[in-house]
Amino acid sequence: EKLFHSRDHSDIELPTSHRAEVIVDEVTAKQFLEKYGFTNPVKWDEKHYEQEESFIDANRAPKDILSLIQEGTFASRSSGESDAENPLQKPQYMKALKEFQKAYNLPITGVLDDATKAVMNKPRCGVPDKKADLNNTIDNTTTSITNETLDNRTAQVERQASYSAGTRQKR
């Protein structure tokens, strides 16, 4: 339970600044697609470790370090275009949005519809969905086919055994 000091618990009410920005329009959706690698792959690991090395350099003035961190945030990945018009009209964003919809088994409309916004607003892991992962989707499909073959064999063997196996299903 979170600690509170005022009787009405108001001091544990999360300030709006502590709430994640909700994906409501094309601009926030565009930033989402950029952040999680749907526009172009995010180099996740090298960036982190570079940071750590420079962070360790004790001679740097804290201000420099802070600016370094500022440098490193991925939100600055945008291409510098103005976002006033619908950014998702751009071909690369439309393509990215379709890839996102395909990856999450959504209707591939290329439009920021409610279903897409709902998935974008779900709690999720912060590791970007790199391009390679999307290829992964295809791989696993083939793997799962192999698995069915195995399952069939197993089912057959199980049927041969005239005994039933009592087991504890939950951990």
Binding site: P123, C125, T167
Partner: protein
Amino acid sequence: SLEMLLFRGRKKRSEGDTPSISGQMAFSKTVLKWRLIGEGYSSQLSIDDQRYVFRLAFRMWSEVSPLLFEEDNTSPLSMIDIRLGFGTGRHLGCAQTFDGAGREFAHAWQLGDIHFDDDEHFTAPSNDNGISLLKVAVHEIGHVLGLPHIYRTGSIMQPSYIPQNSGFEIDWLDRKSVQELYGKCAGPFNAVFDWVRKERTVYGEVVVRFNTYFFRKNWYWLYENRNNRTRYGDPIAIQVGWHGIPSDGIDAFVHVWTWRIDATYFFKGTQYWRYDSDSDQAYAEDSEGNKYPRLISEGFPGIPSPINTAFYDRRDYRVYFFKDSLVYAFDVNKNQKVNGFPQLITDAFPAVIPNDHPISNLDAAFFSYSYNSIFFFKGTYFWKVVNDRDKQLNSSLAYNSLLPRQNIGDQWFDICNVHSSVLRM
């Protein structure tokens, strides 16, 4: 040291012995140290709860891969492979800022750190509300081990959080993914056996059940034949699951089952114990007045000890005891050693393919009701003894001959150790 680790990881894979998924990196050692960083405790759960959840999360990955995880709160930080911590907004010197309550709940850096957004409502496994810290931890550890996001229903590596109404486990394909990076679990066993029990249904009918067990040192697994995996949560300590028998180093399990006799025995060293399957504990004294443990030489005259392993063959009502390169046969109806034994194992159980034979010092031998076959185990291999069905398919096969060896891990999957510090979880 991190550079070296990365280099070695990459170098090792380039040598091809650690295949990877689309270029993912992998640790090049099997025992990994982790620590919940002191500055990064969550404000929502007790520290014990947090550490318990992480211990369980790491254990779950151990149960499906050759990796062992050890919590280490004393070594220098540079010696810690995986560091976990909670933070909000700008946290722990990380380049990626958390976004507050909602959406991003955690992230991980390959071969390194895991950060949890403490603005999220993380809950312990026993609580169905909020975001399960266990599930998120297992997901993020998957990243640290080198797994990418996988969009497959049922995968723990799905990017979006899927509330779970009951306990979740690492499924078959996720197991194969991590084993692609780190290889399969392999290793010798002390004993392998099918334990048969009689139970009565609510209608009073007697039902005969069996389960397959794998014993190794002082822990064991129940293997669910139907699901091709060990029971969730195994291995557990032998002491926990079996009562009155030695807690480690079991040499053999024998179930003598005839019209007249139904007796289960455990062997270790020069002694053996009779197990009461109905009350699930060893006899101190059985109905014939025999006190246990008993000397093997008393109960099975003519049989030397200690033995390597033994099994009961229902076809000829004999127990076969194996010691070094010899095999002894014991007739359970006559209660005496069979003339003509001992024989060389290579003579009594000849190899179908020349030289493809365990020769001596078997680890285990058992009759499997699932496969209706006898198997010999040694190291990471097993040999199947030709049974009637094999002879029907190929009449030239000699009785009791051994078919070519196969990897144990290719038939019995994911029998994996866990670190001794989490054995009793």
